[in-house]
Symmetry: C3
Subunit: 342 residues, 3 copies
């Protein structure tokens, strides 16, 4: 949807000090590179300072330190945290352009008579809402969603098309759940007996706080006996596996393809890189940061950045180094022997 | 659903020697920690022995060696394998609490006239069952499932909401398939020609045995010419990729995020850790266990535990060690030279 | 569907030089091993040459160098590239056996009045097509698919059951999209503020070229400001994560479980192995090949094969080597010290 707003409207909505014409019309948010005179852009990383001068953007959002540099080239909005300003600008922009949610239940949706759907909520085409499920004010249940018996979707939360929310599981307020997410499948629990596996039924549920975002095709398993818990403000990217009885502290962010095995406990304000894996029953303290593709095999109780990645190399070099790595302990012993000798 | 059972009813159903009052009322299965007087708990791991004494659980399931320790604190069920007893208890519990499957086809489901659905099976809301598909006695096809032409779902198997079972693929009896699973998408096969890829149509199917469980969003591709085969009792966790023409032996278990590339052959009673990867065309013998996040690059023909994980460390240490690793082969040569010299 | 074709019909359709009886009836395409007299098979890899003589296949597709070896054993088709011939044979075979797509909109599908669906396209049962979406000639929208507002599906492209194509995203001609794929979920973008995360709305879309294939449950996120772009002929396997603003060059192939983080730029004709990960904002030149499970942490501007995998070993050996690896930098220093001494 095409819109046009003035620079004045932007600062009226979002604050900041406007330099230049308040009448400047803005039709697009864009990067400094490739910007046009009707683009509003931002400088959040000093690395891109050189682009500021070259950019054709009609208006740029900058920190106070760049006030003069920005003013010499055209309109600007000065604000202490341009990246945060940009985030809020995108939210305001979407509020202007995204069509309002039509409240009500689509005639093709299958909503059990014993479900409780707020009159301000939307249940989209072909969704299924089972008995005793609760959909609170202003929530959106996307097309083809499945909301199991007794599940709860908090106020203003939005489930994209094709989300599964299992029986008895709950989502707080203002959450965003993307397509293909599965919340509340059985945790992976079996008892061995005579060379085969006996299923342990998973009797817990999944409890998700407020302001949580869950990326496409991510899975959060229900707990074995207690619940799996995702606290407020957690952000999960796509294709993440969260095992049963995991506990993720508030405002922790996890990137795509990562895995958290059963009963792991991740503190608040952690970050886990893409494709990283946290093994089961471990604890990560508050403020632990794990690099992409690293494997956490022991609890980490001290904040900081941790990594464990085999360095990539041309294949021939890698082959030689990897082969030597398989004798590394022996090499150490040989080094010791030499040291003794000399 | 809230229920209350007596200790007597438990042992009548599941066996074991009951110590203490048969009239004890149980309303919940729970861990030793956090248990209440109406909780039944279990001690399966000697590491938690100290919790046994402290626990407020009304009844505990223990091995004979803990009989006395348990008896002094209250009711107990003595059994040779408490973990297995716990597994069966959860199954019995679910049998009491889970509502019975309503047989029949939901009016919103789209079932082809040439499909064969047992009168004791359930096809839930908005499911699609194509021509010549077979749904056997007591099977459940969840909401929004897609059962392709000629596919077969064995007796008592349960597909959760939103499962795809491709044309011609089959699932045995008593299987559990979680939401988002895709069985029978095309294997990844292309012939290179002039710098682009020519598709190799995948003419095989997927054949899954009895008592198999498949976790949420896991994918099992159809074979190129022959079928991809998952034998009886295999347990697959969430978000696993099984390539075309893979063969997985009976009672093998694979944890979340793992990948098995095309034409790999995994023996029976193996275990593959989370995020581990098995490269294509390899063979794993019976009883091979692969640690989480390890990469199997050659066939493993001897039972045992195998690992290959870069150890995680604080980022600064990792950087130094990783940089040195890229010169490891040269270091070995220098060590050799020194050895010759001295 | 059972069919029978003559060897003559095969070469009439696909070319090649036929040796032996043109009347030979073929009912199956199969590997050399396990072939029957009515099987057509192929020899594409010299490693399997020994199987050629032993095989009971009625007809074999071979390169000129194997003409004599093949002729002595029965019918054969001689062609410069047997693997490519096999690929085209499977395509021709499917053309004979796969039922034609019934054009038209299934009565249970929910198609907005403002959507534009070609009269030669199919929209299957229970699919949802929103306003201003475009479905071009001969395209197939599978059961339970969701095609968002303003999205576009090019001519002859096929979406399997249960695909999400987000609002404003587009797919070119002749693409194949497997079940569970999510195109156009929000990229993972947040601004930190006071220990929590502020959402950056993702205003870009996803643009996919012609002849692209996307495997089951793969996710391609929409761009933050610009579009995420997948060029012509790209082949993506299952369970792949493609972050926002990624650009993948033409005819690049990526195997299952791989991840490409935001704003990475992968050149044309690359191959990325299964479970490999490309970190954000990196560039891979044309013709870069990454081994399975390797992590790309810096841009790679030179064509070639690159690897970085911890070698798997029996667990005890791995433990010793991994422990030593954590002191590798110190070992190097000790080696240096020794070298100085001697």
């Amino acid at each position: 949807m095409a819109i046009s707003v003035s620079a004045r409207e932007v600062v009226q909505a979002l604050g900041g000090e406007l330099i230049g014409s308040p009448e400047l019309q803005i039709t697009r948010i864009g990067a400094l590179e490739g910007a046009t005179p009707s683009t509003i852009s931002f400088l959040a990383n000093p690395r891109f300072e050189a682009q500021l001068v070259r950019s054709r953007a009609g208006c740029v959002i900058v920190a106070p330190v760049y006030r003069d540099a920005a003013a010499t080239r055209g309109a600007a909005i000065v604000t202490p945290d341009p990246y945060l300003y940009y985030a809020r600008l995108t939210q305001w922009w979407v509020g202007l352009t995204r069509p309002a949610t039509p409240a009500g239940i689509h005639p093709s949706a299958i909503v059990d008579a014993a479900a409780r759907v707020s009159s301000s909520a939307e249940v989209a085409a072909l969704a299924v809402v089972e008995a005793h499920a609760i959909v609170e004010d202003g929530a959106v249940i996307g097309a083809h969603c499945f909301v199991g018996a007794g599940a709860r979707v908090g106020a203003l939360s939005r489930l994209a098309a094709r989300v599964t929310l299992g029986a008895g599981c709950s989502i707080g307020a203002r959450c965003i759940v993307h397509s293909g997410v599965v919340i509340g499948a059985d945790g992976f629990g079996f008892a061995p007996v005579d060379g085969r596996w006996e299923k342990i039924e998973q009797l817990g549920a999944v409890r998700i706080g407020d302001d949580v975002e869950i990326g496409a095709n991510t899975c959060i398993d229900r707990g074995a006996l207690e619940d799996t818990v995702i606290e407020d403000g957690v952000k999960l990217d796509n294709l993440i596996q969260i095992g049963h009885n995991v506990h993720i502290g508030a405002h922790t962010a996890i990137a795509g393809n990562a895995g958290v095995a059963g009963s792991a406990r991740i503190g608040p304000r952690c970050s886990i890189g893409g494709a990283a894996n946290i093994l089961g029953h471990l604890t990560l303290a508050e403020g632990v940061h794990i690099s992409a593709a690293s494997v956490v095999m022991r609890s980490i109780l001290k904040p900081g950045l941790y990594s464990g990645i085999f360095p990539i190399d041309d294949n021939a070099s890698w082959e030689k180094n990897a082969a030597t790595l398989r004798q590394l302990h022996a090499l150490r012993d040989r080094l010791r022997a030499l040291e003794k000798k000399t």
